[in-house]
Protein backbone atom coordinates (compact mmCIF):
# COMPACT_ATOMS: atom_id res chain seq x y z
CA UNK A 1 0.00 0.00 0.00
CA UNK A 2 1.30 3.41 -0.92
CA UNK A 3 2.06 5.68 2.02
CA UNK A 4 3.31 9.22 2.41
CA UNK A 5 2.02 10.52 -0.89
CA UNK A 6 2.36 14.29 -1.05
CA UNK A 7 1.68 16.76 -3.82
CA UNK A 8 5.23 18.05 -3.40
CA UNK A 9 6.67 14.64 -4.24
CA UNK A 10 4.22 14.06 -7.07
CA UNK A 11 5.05 17.44 -8.58
CA UNK A 12 8.63 16.28 -9.22
CA UNK A 13 7.46 13.68 -11.71
CA UNK A 14 7.38 14.27 -15.43
CA UNK A 15 4.08 15.45 -16.85
CA UNK A 16 2.98 12.73 -19.26
CA UNK A 17 -0.09 14.55 -20.52
CA UNK A 18 0.77 18.03 -21.75
CA UNK A 19 -1.08 21.30 -21.99
CA UNK A 20 -2.19 22.30 -25.44
CA UNK A 21 -4.79 19.52 -25.58
CA UNK A 22 -8.21 20.61 -26.81
CA UNK A 23 -10.52 19.40 -24.01
CA UNK A 24 -13.00 22.12 -22.91
CA UNK A 25 -11.94 24.72 -20.41
CA UNK A 26 -12.52 23.32 -16.90
CA UNK A 27 -13.04 19.70 -18.00
CA UNK A 28 -12.73 17.00 -15.33
CA UNK A 29 -11.21 14.33 -17.56
CA UNK A 30 -7.66 15.67 -18.06
CA UNK A 31 -7.45 16.27 -14.29
CA UNK A 32 -8.19 12.58 -13.74
CA UNK A 33 -5.73 11.46 -16.42
CA UNK A 34 -3.03 13.64 -14.89
CA UNK A 35 -3.63 12.13 -11.41
CA UNK A 36 -3.59 8.58 -12.80
CA UNK A 37 -0.33 9.12 -14.71
CA UNK A 38 1.27 10.70 -11.63
CA UNK A 39 0.28 7.65 -9.58
CA UNK A 40 2.19 5.20 -11.73
CA UNK A 41 5.80 4.23 -11.17
CA UNK A 42 5.63 1.86 -14.12
CA UNK A 43 5.94 2.60 -17.83
CA UNK A 44 2.43 3.01 -19.18
CA UNK A 45 0.65 2.22 -22.42
CA UNK A 46 -2.71 3.96 -22.67
CA UNK A 47 -5.56 2.31 -24.55
CA UNK A 48 -8.42 4.63 -25.25
CA UNK A 49 -11.88 4.02 -26.73
CA UNK A 50 -13.29 6.89 -28.75
CA UNK A 51 -14.62 9.79 -26.72
CA UNK A 52 -13.77 13.39 -25.90
CA UNK A 53 -10.41 12.39 -24.45
CA UNK A 54 -9.35 10.56 -27.57
CA UNK A 55 -10.44 13.12 -30.12
CA UNK A 56 -9.26 16.15 -28.14
CA UNK A 57 -5.80 14.92 -27.18
CA UNK A 58 -4.86 13.66 -30.63
CA UNK A 59 -5.83 16.13 -33.31
CA UNK A 60 -4.19 15.93 -36.70
CA UNK A 61 -0.51 15.32 -35.94
CA UNK A 62 -0.64 16.90 -32.49
CA UNK A 63 -0.64 14.65 -29.47
CA UNK A 64 -0.79 15.62 -25.82
CA UNK A 65 0.54 12.21 -24.74
CA UNK A 66 4.12 11.42 -23.91
CA UNK A 67 3.42 7.70 -23.57
CA UNK A 68 2.50 5.04 -26.14
CA UNK A 69 -1.17 5.23 -26.81
CA UNK A 70 -3.44 2.79 -28.66
CA UNK A 71 -7.10 2.50 -29.50
CA UNK A 72 -8.85 -0.06 -27.79
CA UNK A 73 -12.90 -2.86 -25.51
CA UNK A 74 -14.09 -3.58 -21.94
CA UNK A 75 -16.13 -6.58 -20.75
CA UNK A 76 -14.31 -9.01 -23.03
CA UNK A 77 -10.91 -7.82 -21.84
CA UNK A 78 -11.98 -8.36 -18.21
CA UNK A 79 -13.31 -11.83 -19.00
CA UNK A 80 -10.13 -12.84 -20.82
CA UNK A 81 -8.16 -11.71 -17.82
CA UNK A 82 -5.69 -9.31 -19.43
CA UNK A 83 -3.21 -7.75 -17.04
CA UNK A 84 -4.49 -4.20 -17.37
CA UNK A 85 -6.27 -1.43 -15.57
CA UNK A 86 -9.33 0.07 -17.19
CA UNK A 87 -10.18 3.55 -15.97
CA UNK A 88 -13.55 4.95 -16.92
CA UNK A 89 -13.96 8.69 -16.53
CA UNK A 90 -17.72 8.83 -16.08
CA UNK A 91 -19.37 12.07 -17.11
CA UNK A 92 -22.79 10.48 -17.35
CA UNK A 93 -23.76 10.92 -21.02
CA UNK A 94 -22.46 10.84 -24.57
CA UNK A 95 -20.90 14.25 -24.05
CA UNK A 96 -18.50 14.04 -26.97
CA UNK A 97 -21.23 13.82 -29.58
CA UNK A 98 -23.61 16.38 -28.08
CA UNK A 99 -24.86 15.32 -24.63
CA UNK A 100 -27.04 12.36 -25.60
CA UNK A 101 -28.51 10.19 -22.87
CA UNK A 102 -26.57 7.03 -22.03
CA UNK A 103 -27.26 4.13 -19.68
CA UNK A 104 -24.91 5.86 -17.21
CA UNK A 105 -26.95 9.09 -17.25
CA UNK A 106 -28.44 9.67 -13.79
CA UNK A 107 -32.18 9.68 -13.13
CA UNK A 108 -33.84 13.00 -13.92
CA UNK A 109 -31.02 14.50 -15.98
CA UNK A 110 -31.94 16.63 -18.97
CA UNK A 111 -30.05 15.57 -22.11
CA UNK A 112 -30.54 16.27 -25.81
CA UNK A 113 -32.19 12.86 -26.33
CA UNK A 114 -34.28 12.92 -23.12
CA UNK A 115 -35.00 16.63 -22.86
CA UNK A 116 -37.01 17.75 -19.84
CA UNK A 117 -40.28 19.27 -21.01
CA UNK A 118 -43.99 18.66 -21.18
CA UNK A 119 -43.62 15.05 -22.37
CA UNK A 120 -40.90 13.69 -20.06
CA UNK A 121 -39.12 15.20 -17.04
CA UNK A 122 -35.60 14.28 -18.24
CA UNK A 123 -34.32 10.71 -17.98
CA UNK A 124 -36.95 8.51 -16.35
CA UNK A 125 -34.74 5.48 -15.70
CA UNK A 126 -32.06 5.03 -13.11
CA UNK A 127 -28.33 5.08 -13.79
CA UNK A 128 -26.57 1.88 -14.70
CA UNK A 129 -24.05 1.01 -12.00
CA UNK A 130 -20.96 0.29 -14.06
CA UNK A 131 -18.66 -0.29 -11.09
CA UNK A 132 -20.89 -3.11 -9.80
CA UNK A 133 -21.22 -4.58 -13.29
CA UNK A 134 -17.46 -4.73 -13.60
CA UNK A 135 -17.06 -6.16 -10.09
CA UNK A 136 -19.52 -8.88 -11.14
CA UNK A 137 -16.82 -10.11 -13.53
CA UNK A 138 -15.06 -11.32 -10.37
CA UNK A 139 -11.95 -9.38 -11.21
CA UNK A 140 -9.31 -8.90 -8.48
CA UNK A 141 -9.90 -5.16 -8.12
CA UNK A 142 -12.74 -2.73 -8.87
CA UNK A 143 -13.00 0.73 -7.37
CA UNK A 144 -14.71 4.08 -7.54
CA UNK A 145 -12.87 7.40 -7.14
CA UNK A 146 -13.26 11.15 -7.56
CA UNK A 147 -10.71 13.80 -8.57
CA UNK A 148 -11.73 15.95 -5.56
CA UNK A 149 -10.17 13.27 -3.33
CA UNK A 150 -6.85 13.17 -5.14
CA UNK A 151 -5.01 11.11 -2.52
CA UNK A 152 -7.70 8.40 -2.53
CA UNK A 153 -7.54 8.33 -6.33
CA UNK A 154 -3.76 8.13 -6.49
CA UNK A 155 -3.65 5.38 -3.84
CA UNK A 156 -6.23 3.31 -5.72
CA UNK A 157 -4.33 3.58 -8.98
CA UNK A 158 -1.08 2.59 -7.26
CA UNK A 159 -2.77 -0.37 -5.60
CA UNK A 160 -4.42 -1.49 -8.85
CA UNK A 161 -1.15 -1.29 -10.77
CA UNK A 162 0.47 -3.66 -8.27
CA UNK A 163 -2.22 -6.30 -8.72
CA UNK A 164 -1.91 -8.86 -11.53
CA UNK A 165 -4.92 -9.32 -13.79
CA UNK A 166 -7.78 -7.13 -14.95
CA UNK A 167 -8.62 -4.11 -12.80
CA UNK A 168 -11.37 -1.52 -13.15
CA UNK A 169 -11.81 1.99 -11.81
CA UNK A 170 -14.76 4.32 -12.29
CA UNK A 171 -13.97 8.00 -11.74
CA UNK A 172 -16.56 10.76 -11.56
CA UNK A 173 -15.73 13.32 -14.23
CA UNK A 174 -17.62 16.63 -14.22
CA UNK A 175 -18.48 18.00 -17.66
CA UNK A 176 -19.54 21.62 -17.51
CA UNK A 177 -21.04 21.54 -21.03
CA UNK A 178 -23.19 18.50 -20.34
CA UNK A 179 -23.93 19.17 -16.69
CA UNK A 180 -24.84 22.77 -17.51
CA UNK A 181 -22.57 24.08 -14.80
CA UNK A 182 -19.68 26.55 -14.55
CA UNK A 183 -16.15 26.09 -15.84
CA UNK A 184 -14.61 26.46 -12.39
CA UNK A 185 -16.66 23.94 -10.43
CA UNK A 186 -15.38 20.53 -11.60
CA UNK A 187 -13.62 19.80 -8.32
CA UNK A 188 -16.36 21.35 -6.17
CA UNK A 189 -19.02 19.21 -7.88
CA UNK A 190 -17.03 16.01 -7.70
CA UNK A 191 -16.53 16.71 -3.98
CA UNK A 192 -20.29 17.22 -3.53
CA UNK A 193 -20.85 13.95 -5.41
CA UNK A 194 -18.84 12.18 -2.73
CA UNK A 195 -20.23 14.10 0.25
CA UNK A 196 -23.83 13.41 -0.77
CA UNK A 197 -22.98 9.71 -1.35
CA UNK A 198 -24.12 10.06 -4.95
CA UNK A 199 -20.64 8.84 -5.81
CA UNK A 200 -19.36 6.76 -2.90
CA UNK A 201 -15.63 6.13 -2.75
CA UNK A 202 -15.08 2.42 -2.33
CA UNK A 203 -13.12 -0.55 -3.58
CA UNK A 204 -13.84 -4.24 -4.01
CA UNK A 205 -10.66 -6.24 -3.66
CA UNK A 206 -10.95 -10.01 -4.16
CA UNK A 207 -14.65 -9.76 -3.43
CA UNK A 208 -14.17 -7.77 -0.21
CA UNK A 209 -15.90 -4.39 -0.19
CA UNK A 210 -14.33 -1.44 1.57
CA UNK A 211 -15.74 2.08 1.70
CA UNK A 212 -12.63 4.28 1.59
CA UNK A 213 -14.29 7.53 2.60
CA UNK A 214 -17.31 8.06 4.82
CA UNK A 215 -18.57 11.64 4.93
CA UNK A 216 -18.90 12.91 8.48
CA UNK A 217 -22.25 14.32 7.55
CA UNK A 218 -24.10 12.89 4.56
CA UNK A 219 -25.27 15.96 2.65
CA UNK A 220 -28.67 16.02 0.96
CA UNK A 221 -28.46 14.99 -2.70
CA UNK A 222 -29.99 18.35 -3.68
CA UNK A 223 -26.62 19.99 -2.81
CA UNK A 224 -25.06 18.06 -5.69
CA UNK A 225 -27.99 18.52 -8.09
CA UNK A 226 -28.71 22.21 -7.53
CA UNK A 227 -25.59 23.76 -9.16
CA UNK A 228 -26.19 21.69 -12.33
CA UNK A 229 -28.55 23.03 -14.98
CA UNK A 230 -29.35 19.50 -16.19
CA UNK A 231 -31.35 18.98 -12.96
CA UNK A 232 -32.96 22.42 -12.84
CA UNK A 233 -36.47 21.19 -13.62
CA UNK A 234 -36.31 18.85 -10.64
CA UNK A 235 -36.55 21.88 -8.38
CA UNK A 236 -39.91 22.95 -9.78
CA UNK A 237 -42.72 22.40 -7.24
CA UNK A 238 -44.49 19.82 -9.45
CA UNK A 239 -41.32 17.73 -9.65
CA UNK A 240 -40.71 17.38 -5.95
CA UNK A 241 -41.30 13.65 -6.34
CA UNK A 242 -38.21 13.46 -8.55
CA UNK A 243 -35.94 14.85 -5.87
CA UNK A 244 -37.42 12.40 -3.42
CA UNK A 245 -36.98 9.49 -5.80
CA UNK A 246 -33.39 10.45 -6.65
CA UNK A 247 -32.56 10.72 -2.95
CA UNK A 248 -34.09 7.28 -2.33
CA UNK A 249 -31.89 5.77 -5.05
CA UNK A 250 -28.77 7.23 -3.47
CA UNK A 251 -29.81 6.12 0.03
CA UNK A 252 -30.44 2.61 -1.23
CA UNK A 253 -27.06 2.29 -2.90
CA UNK A 254 -25.23 3.77 0.08
CA UNK A 255 -27.11 1.43 2.42
CA UNK A 256 -26.28 -1.66 0.40
CA UNK A 257 -22.66 -0.60 0.17
CA UNK A 258 -22.36 -0.26 3.96
CA UNK A 259 -24.04 -3.65 4.31
CA UNK A 260 -21.64 -5.25 1.84
CA UNK A 261 -18.74 -3.81 3.80
CA UNK A 262 -20.05 -5.14 7.10
CA UNK A 263 -20.18 -8.67 5.69
Amino acid sequence: MATGITLKELSKKEELLTGGHRMCSGCGAPIIVKMVLLASDYPIIAANATGCLEVSTCISDYTAWKIPWIHQSLSGAMERGHDMIYICYDNGAYMNTGIQRSSATPFGADTTTCPAGSVIPGKTQQRKNLTKIMAAHDIPYAAQASPSHWMDLVKKVKKALDIKGPKFMNVLSPCNRGWRSRTDDAIMLSRLGVETCYWPLYEIEDGVTKVTFKPREKKPLADFLKPQGRFKHMFAPENEWMLKRAQEMVDKEWGSLLKAEAK
Binding site: L7, K8, E9, L10, S11, K12, E15, L17, T18, G19, G20, H21, R22, M23, C24, S25, G26, C27, G28, A29, P30, I31, K34, M35, T57, C58, I59, S60, D61, Y62, T63, A64, W65, K66, I67, P147, W150, R182, T183, D184, D185, A186, I187, M188
Partner: protein, 97 residues
Protein backbone atom coordinates in the same frame (compact mmCIF):
# COMPACT_ATOMS: atom_id res chain seq x y z
CA UNK B 1 -0.39 31.13 -33.56
CA UNK B 2 -0.02 29.90 -37.14
CA UNK B 3 -1.68 26.60 -37.97
CA UNK B 4 0.01 24.13 -40.33
CA UNK B 5 -1.29 23.92 -43.86
CA UNK B 6 -1.99 20.62 -45.59
CA UNK B 7 1.50 20.39 -47.04
CA UNK B 8 3.10 20.81 -43.64
CA UNK B 9 1.25 18.11 -41.69
CA UNK B 10 2.73 14.61 -41.78
CA UNK B 11 1.22 12.14 -44.28
CA UNK B 12 -1.89 10.61 -42.68
CA UNK B 13 -1.45 13.12 -39.84
CA UNK B 14 0.79 10.59 -38.07
CA UNK B 15 2.08 11.84 -34.71
CA UNK B 16 5.85 11.65 -34.79
CA UNK B 17 6.62 13.60 -31.64
CA UNK B 18 5.42 12.87 -28.09
CA UNK B 19 3.66 15.80 -26.47
CA UNK B 20 3.54 17.86 -29.65
CA UNK B 21 0.25 19.38 -28.42
CA UNK B 22 2.53 21.86 -26.62
CA UNK B 23 2.91 23.59 -29.96
CA UNK B 24 -0.80 24.36 -29.91
CA UNK B 25 -1.39 27.34 -27.66
CA UNK B 26 -4.80 27.07 -26.01
CA UNK B 27 -4.23 30.23 -23.97
CA UNK B 28 -6.13 32.19 -26.62
CA UNK B 29 -9.36 30.49 -25.48
CA UNK B 30 -9.25 32.42 -22.23
CA UNK B 31 -11.92 34.97 -21.25
CA UNK B 32 -10.70 35.25 -17.65
CA UNK B 33 -7.11 35.17 -16.51
CA UNK B 34 -5.90 33.83 -13.18
CA UNK B 35 -3.48 36.01 -11.23
CA UNK B 36 -1.32 34.56 -8.46
CA UNK B 37 -0.85 36.63 -5.30
CA UNK B 38 2.24 35.08 -3.84
CA UNK B 39 1.97 36.55 -0.34
CA UNK B 40 -1.29 34.74 0.21
CA UNK B 41 0.05 31.41 -1.01
CA UNK B 42 0.49 28.56 1.47
CA UNK B 43 2.15 26.21 -1.06
CA UNK B 44 -0.51 23.53 -0.80
CA UNK B 45 -0.23 22.84 -4.57
CA UNK B 46 -3.97 22.23 -4.90
CA UNK B 47 -3.99 24.59 -7.90
CA UNK B 48 -1.35 22.45 -9.58
CA UNK B 49 -3.02 19.08 -9.04
CA UNK B 50 -6.49 20.32 -10.02
CA UNK B 51 -5.60 22.31 -13.17
CA UNK B 52 -6.95 20.47 -16.24
CA UNK B 53 -4.38 22.06 -18.54
CA UNK B 54 -1.03 21.54 -16.83
CA UNK B 55 -0.84 25.34 -16.82
CA UNK B 56 0.78 25.86 -13.42
CA UNK B 57 4.47 25.31 -13.01
CA UNK B 58 5.94 23.71 -9.93
CA UNK B 59 9.70 23.83 -9.43
CA UNK B 60 11.45 21.95 -6.62
CA UNK B 61 8.14 21.34 -4.96
CA UNK B 62 7.27 25.06 -4.98
CA UNK B 63 4.36 26.75 -6.70
CA UNK B 64 5.69 28.54 -9.80
CA UNK B 65 4.32 30.80 -12.50
CA UNK B 66 1.36 30.33 -14.78
CA UNK B 67 1.89 28.93 -18.25
CA UNK B 68 -0.47 31.38 -19.87
CA UNK B 69 0.18 29.77 -23.28
CA UNK B 70 -1.99 26.85 -22.17
CA UNK B 71 -4.27 28.17 -19.39
CA UNK B 72 -7.88 28.24 -20.63
CA UNK B 73 -9.09 30.40 -17.76
CA UNK B 74 -11.55 27.88 -16.33
CA UNK B 75 -11.11 29.23 -12.78
CA UNK B 76 -10.77 25.87 -11.00
CA UNK B 77 -7.43 26.92 -9.46
CA UNK B 78 -8.99 30.09 -8.04
CA UNK B 79 -12.03 28.30 -6.66
CA UNK B 80 -10.00 25.53 -5.02
CA UNK B 81 -7.23 27.81 -3.66
CA UNK B 82 -7.54 27.97 0.14
CA UNK B 83 -5.23 31.01 0.41
CA UNK B 84 -4.15 32.49 3.72
CA UNK B 85 -6.49 33.74 6.44
CA UNK B 86 -9.47 33.88 4.14
CA UNK B 87 -7.50 35.75 1.43
CA UNK B 88 -7.26 33.89 -1.87
CA UNK B 89 -3.86 33.53 -3.51
CA UNK B 90 -5.51 33.35 -6.94
CA UNK B 91 -8.00 35.78 -8.44
CA UNK B 92 -9.68 35.66 -11.84
CA UNK B 93 -9.62 38.85 -13.90
CA UNK B 94 -11.39 39.57 -17.14
CA UNK B 95 -9.05 39.46 -20.16
CA UNK B 96 -8.30 42.71 -22.00
CA UNK B 97 -9.20 44.94 -19.10
Amino acid sequence: MKLKNWKEVTPGAVCTEAGSALKFKTGSWRAFKPRWIEENCIQCLFCWIYCPDMAIEVKDGKRGVYRYDYCKGCGICALECPGKKGKKAIVMEEEGK
